[in-house]
């Protein structure tokens, strides 16, 4: 048995950084093996989902479908009930469509998927191994498939579940303004964590040689959120402080280590393997704080609720969610990560919100008001793009999407806090998600040294199935990029479009969701970052 296809996910990877790290400038490149992949393989920018965020983007990458079909729009799902809104976390059961892990499994391929978000709880009929990401260590055993593999992983030298798994206390810092000391600790924290995932991947590849070996390194995203100014080449000019130099070297040591892991995995997979890399989104600098609910309050859409006194009030103020008077609020942003506006419609008598028949005119006025949100000095629009949900989230799950999807002029995430001014410059630039991530391929049958035009995130799942010798489901939105593979390879292995995906009980599961899980807990949500 040999690994046929190796997929390495690099959460948040961008060519803005990788191009720089693969160049030999004042010495050898920081990532020499990736430089070899660049030279010997194919690469392209990869356009993310309309909101370039981990949950919708990775689920699109794993399903070949847009968020309007798979139904995962954010970390958090909200349910409006009368004058209350309950918030809950998405999990794998919320995905309405089939993943490539299941598609490959039911066609007899053995898979291993490590550290991918929204794979917990794992599907029961999986042919292979799944160790989910975004799960705290105390629940890793129960969410690992098959159950017996967890004890096997414990036999790996230096295996440490606490180091490997998602640490909520650490992760909640990803979007916070950190002190210099805490930022350094934050970057350091991700070095051993990635090593743990590498060791698990290496072990399963050696011991089990699944047909599809997939591992996600998510430290790229986490590091770039806090250390963007130390890795973006644009910020390495002029006089740099000692702290800056130290942080840059620490950040580069992360990428140097990652390059070593990639080389070892590719080498261990053997010369016959086709290797693919993709990120869920890219990265860029956010330079301003946009308090979208504060702006909507000025326009009369949002009405704040008074904060309770004392500690409860402080906790509430720092919360991930808007704390609003639901009896009066008509349109608001639910979470910083959603970058969307939800219009509250009174569907039944007695419910709060606008009347259904007023929806179209209300939304038109709201769009106009959002367009009028401008930089006082330059007159430039703060919100560069405003998309109606039917335009960007077509599909059966569209009604769960925000009514309006926003793209800020600096690609930043909004703040939902009750503070003024509604827009102000940040003290220092922080990393934020850019819609263009990366897609790379390397190995036999793959073109060498080629730069393709921009691809779409849903193309990744089609490409992985093709590499496994499987047909592409007819309802996939993505396609196999023909220019990625050599003519001889395509002649020997034609791209085949096959039967549509299987949905099974997923739809009924999704339908029954409204009554469930609103008790999922606030402390778990607050750690997810994307705060001011």
């Amino acid at each position: 048995m040999t690994v046929q296809t190796l997929f390495i996910g690099l959460d948040g990877a961008t060519f803005t950084v990788l191009n720089d790290l693969t160049k030999a400038t004042e010495g050898p490149p920081v990532m020499p093996f990736l430089a070899k992949i660049f030279a010997g393989g194919v690469r392209a920018k990869l356009r993310s989902t309309p909101n370039p965020l981990t949950p919708p983007a990775w689920v699109s990458l794993m399903t070949g479908r847009g968020p309007g079909h798979h139904g995962v729009f954010d970390f958090i799902r909200a349910e409006e009930r009368g004058e209350e809104v309950f918030f809950t976390l998405f999990d794998s059961r919320d995905c309405r469509v089939e993943t490539i892990w299941s598609i490959a499994s039911r066609q007899g391929k053995r898979i291993a998927a490590l550290n991918f978000p929204f794979t917990a709880p794992p599907p029961k009929e999986l042919n292979g191994f799944m160790v989910p990401g975004f799960v705290p260590w105390r629940h890793l055993r129960r969410n690992t498939h098959p159950a017996s593999v967890y004890d096997r992983l414990k036999s790996i030298p230096n295996f440490n579940a606490q180091e490997l798994a998602w640490d909520f206390e650490q992760e909640k810092q990803s979007g916070d303004q950190l002190s210099d000391h805490d930022r350094e600790a934050w970057v350091s924290y991700h070095l051993p964590r990635e090593k743990q995932w590498f060791q698990v991947a290496e072990y399963l590849m050696r011991e089990e040689a699944p047909d599809l070996m997939a591992v996600l390194f998510d430290g790229v995203d986490k590091l770039q959120h806090q250390a963007w100014q130390f890795v973006d080449p644009a910020y390495q000019q002029g006089e740099l402080s000692e702290y800056h130099k130290r942080m840059r070297e620490l950040s580069l040591s992360y990428f140097r280590q990652l390059d070593g892991f990639i080389e070892q995995l590719v080498t261990a997979a053997g010369p016959g393997v086709q290797v693919f890399f993709a990120s869920d989104h890219g990265f860029t600098a956010s330079t301003e704080i946009v308090r979208i609910n504060a702006y909507l309050a000025q326009k009369g859409y949002v009405h704040w609720k008074d904060l309770p006194e004392g500690e409860a009030g402080k906790r509430r103020d720092n919360s991930y969610f808007a704390f609003l008077d639901w009896s009066k609020t008509t349109a608001y942003c639910r979470t910083p990560s959603c970058n969307g506006i939800t219009i509250r419609v009174a569907r039944k008598p007695g419910e709060t919100g606008i009347a259904p028949e007023d929806y179209a005119s209300f939304r038109t006025k709201l769009i106009r008001d959002l367009e009028d949100f401008k930089d006082a000095k330059t007159g430039e629009r703060i919100i560069a793009e405003i998309h109606k949900r039917e335009d960007v989230f077509p599909g059966a799950a569209m009604t769960d999407a925000p009514d309006l999807q926003l793209v800020l002029r600096d690609f930043g995430f909004v703040s939902v806090k009750n503070r003024l001014p509604a827009v102000e410059p940040r003290e220092y630039p922080v990393g934020t998600h850019h819609p263009d991530g990366v897609f790379m391929a390397y190995g036999p049958g793959i073109e060498a040294g080629k730069l393709l035009g921009r691809r779409h995130i849903t193309d990744v799942s089609s490409t992985l199935l093709y590499s496994l010798g499987l047909a592409i489901p007819s309802d996939f939105e993505g396609v196999v990029p023909p220019a990625m593979f050599t003519a001889a390879h395509k002649a020997a292995y034609p791209i085949v479009i096959g039967a549509a995906t299987e949905t099974g009980s997923k739809d009924s599961s999704a339908d029954s969701m409204s009554d469930d899980e609103k008790g999922k807990i606030m402390e778990q949500l607050q750690m997810l970052g994307y705060m001011e």
Binding site: D91, P121, P136, S508, G519, I521, Q524
Partner: protein, 100 residues
């Protein structure tokens, strides 16, 4: 990890709790029973309670409206005993059909 449904709902909840906490390094003497409180006795954080709820839903292959147990008057309850959880699941089992 799948746990078989036990003779009683209480037995199932206890089996799940034991399964969930096996790596936590807890002193579980006496072993968990109906009166064991999840937070006070087993150091469950809120996220652990939710994972237990998800495990129960997976075990019974149906959704339970755990919000009715976990929230009271708009606030989350501070603690919960294994017996309370088992009673709640019992009640739900008599009211709800499986997912599919």
């Amino acid at each position: 990890m799948s746990i078989a449904i036990g003779d009683t709902t209480l037995a199932t909840v206890i089996a799940l709790v034991n399964d969930l906490t096996q790596d936590w390094g807890l002193d579980t003497s006496p072993p968990p029973g109906a009166s064991t409180r999840l937070a006070a006795d087993l150091q469950f954080a809120s996220v652990d309670i939710i994972q237990l709820c998800v495990a129960l839903e997976e075990c019974y292959e149906r959704r339970f409206g755990f919000q009715d147990l976990l929230m009271r008057d708009g606030s989350y309850v501070g603690d919960l005993s294994i017996g309370q959880l088992a009673d709640f699941v019992d009640t739900q089992l008599t009211q709800k059909e499986p997912l599919s």
